[in-house]
């Protein structure tokens, strides 16, 4: 194992949240497990809180739980039945991409501990407007959609459902041991995976494994990949042409990506297929959905959106990936190219790589820096607010494209904010902000 790999894993282990945790059952676990397996009792074995880190995480977990509970209550109570959309609790916050990757990366996302102040620049419009709302509705016949996808992929056989999850259908191996495609009926998302497509590797001792097929790249041609991807993506859902597909070739895989366009604009909804170096399709995902226009609605001005909504994470929406100006070419460089030499000036000045995480906030009074316990307090002037459609997720498991603004300060801050006027979209209950040890909320 190389020193770099050792250092990397040592750094990971040092950041392990559980390394100093000592969890203990206060009751006899084996009896409980067996009884629980028999379905007769509910285990409530207690863990002892053994460290401050555990307590901190416990507090953080409380926030996520509160947010999840709020979503459930929103469904049951239905406090604003007139609203067209009741948002789920995981609506993305209006924060820059690098921050959202931390705070909003999964279902346990917390509201960002951001105290940023947003001001509308002089070029922003104070005029209200209007825009259409689109429902991303799963196709009514999920089995037919999955069968169509399976046919394109050469997967025949019956459509099955997982015993523990009836909402998910699949054709194939049912796990990651072989070719498999599954579809989640609630929202129409599907995914294909064939682990056998990955090239063979040779592992010798502690040395990094080497791919046997690394020297021989056998990707389909760009046109072949585009046509295959268009055929696959169109098998269930919106139709794509080969010319709609973008191709990216990396040292590991060839990617074909399609982006859903509505009103001529790219959205955050994407389809993707990837081929292993050996030339075999390794994975793909997409959405068996239709886009349903739910009508035109009034919108607030850009100035209003920035000054009244941007700081409130629940008004956030997901922008098309290109909007984030995020570095998409990272994978196109080999590991050795970068790790064995310092990044060149060109690579830094290209405007692609630096936005990953290196750029400091544009006007920072007290940036968080490397201390996670500090609260960011940035003053950000929004210089551009472009009308767009942002993706939001409702409490019933469906996604919507709603009018919004893509705002930026012209540097590294990008965010999507909903612009539909009050009363159309019901927000989830705000997550209660519980500061962790050492963090002060103002």
């Amino acid at each position: 194992m190389t020193n770099k790999i050792k250092d990397l894993e040592a750094r990971l282990r040092a950041a392990d949240s559980a390394k100093n945790i000592n969890l203990e059952f206060s009751t006899d676990p084996i009896e409980h497990a067996k009884q629980k397996a028999a379905g007769r009792v509910s285990i409530r074995a207690s863990f002892a809180l053994k460290s401050a880190a555990f307590k901190r995480s416990f507090l953080a977990g409380g926030v996520a739980t509160a947010a999840a509970t709020a979503a459930v209550l929103g469904l049951v109570v239905g406090t604003q039945p007139a609203a067209l959309i009741s948002l789920g609790s995981d609506t993305r916050g209006p924060i820059s991409e690098s921050s959202s990757k931390i705070a909003g990366m999964d279902s346990m996302a917390l509201a960002p501990y951001s105290q940023d102040e947003y001001t509308a620049g002089s070029d922003l419009s104070a005029a209200a407007g209007s825009g259409h709302i689109y429902e991303i509705r799963p196709l009514a016949d999920s089995k037919a959609a999955l069968s169509n996808l399976g046919a394109v992929l050469g997967l025949d056989g019956a459509v099955k459902s997982y015993p523990e999850d009836k909402a998910s259908l699949y054709i194939g191996s049912g796990d990651y041991s072989g070719a498999n495609i599954s579809l989640y009926t609630t929202n129409g998302s599907w995914g294909y995976n064939d682990s056998s497509a990955a090239p063979a590797v040779v592992c010798k001792g502690d040395a990094p494994c080497e791919q046997e097929a690394e020297a021989s790249e056998n990707y389909p041609s760009e046109q072949e990949a585009k046509q295959t991807a268009a055929t696959l993506f169109s098998a269930a859902g919106p139709a794509f042409k080969a010319s709609d597909i973008k191709i990216e070739s990396t040292v590991w895989q060839l990617y074909a990506t399609a982006i859903l366009k509505v009103e001529g604009q790219e959205t955050a909804i994407e389809w993707q297929a990837s081929w292993a170096r050996g030339g075999k399709l390794e994975s793909a995902w997409g959405h068996a959905v239709e886009v349903v226009d739910r009508g035109s609605f009034e919108t607030v001005s850009a100035v209003n959106a920035v000054e009244q909504r941007l700081r409130e994470y629940r008004w956030g929406g997901q922008l098309a990936s290109a909007s984030y100006h995020f570095n998409h070419s990272l994978d196109t460089r080999s590991f050795d190219e970068v790790t064995e030499s310092e990044p060149s000036e060109d690579s830094v000045s290209s405007g692609e790589a630096v936005s990953v995480a290196t750029a400091a906030p544009p006007v920072s009074a007290q940036s968080g820096g490397s201390e996670s316990s500090e609260t960011r307090q940035d003053k950000i002037v929004i210089t551009s607010a472009k009308t767009t459609l942002v993706l939001v997720n409702d409490a019933n498991g469906l996604s919507w494209l709603v009018p919004g603004y893509e705002v930026t300060d012209g540097h590294d801050f990008y965010a999507g904010v909903i612009s539909v006027v009050d009363g159309i979209i019901e927000l989830p209950e705000a997550a209660e902000m519980i500061p962790m040890d050492g963090m002060e909320l103002k």
């Binding site: 990971l12 949240s17 901190r56 995480s57 416990f58 998302s189 996604s399």
Partner: protein
């Protein structure tokens, strides 16, 4: 593994490890319930445990339990979330408590890369054990681990 005694032994030896595995990946107040689910399933399927590799087998069960737990939390409210393959990796948030730069790089990895790296670095599994824990071939596990290490190193390199 067929006898109750064998299962009890496995349970007592692996309980701390499975508990930590869960602690890294879910809200702390969910650990006890999910831990009980893992061993409930393990008890029901104990005859299927691969001899000598019971721990990776338990990790695989735990990963499924976490995926279902996360799905139930969000009810798959997000197209963005659901297009990912089932994710049972530790969150960047959990890492951010100790190393914010590492957390930022971690968050940019694909879920599959996070999963394989976590099993290697946090759970200390080798390639073969990882393949069992993830239910993929040894080759695929090795490739994923190699790519994940490379990508994480690359992302960190860009941050420095």
């Amino acid at each position: 593994m067929r006898t109750e005694q064998q299962f009890t032994t496995l349970y007592r030896e692996s309980l701390p490890l499975i508990s930590k595995y869960l602690f890294r990946r879910v809200e702390a107040n969910q650990v006890e319930e999910l831990c009980s689910q893992v061993f409930e399933i393990a008890w029901q399927k104990r005859t299927a445990a691969p001899a000598g590799f019971e721990l990776p087998w338990l990790y695989r069960i735990a990963a499924n339990v976490i995926s279902n737990h996360r799905r139930s939390l969000t009810r798959e409210t997000s197209l963005i979330a659901s297009l990912r393959e089932p994710n049972s990796a530790p969150s960047a948030e959990s890492i951010a408590l100790a190393d914010i730069e590492l957390a930022e790089a971690w968050a940019k990895l694909k879920p599959a890369e996070q999963n394989v790296l976590a099993l290697a670095a946090f759970e200390g599994l080798g390639v073969h054990e990882i393949s069992l824990a993830l239910g993929i071939s040894g080759n695929a596990a090795a490739v994923r681990l190699h790519r994940a290490r490379a990508n994480l190193a690359l992302l960190l390199e860009y941050q420095e």
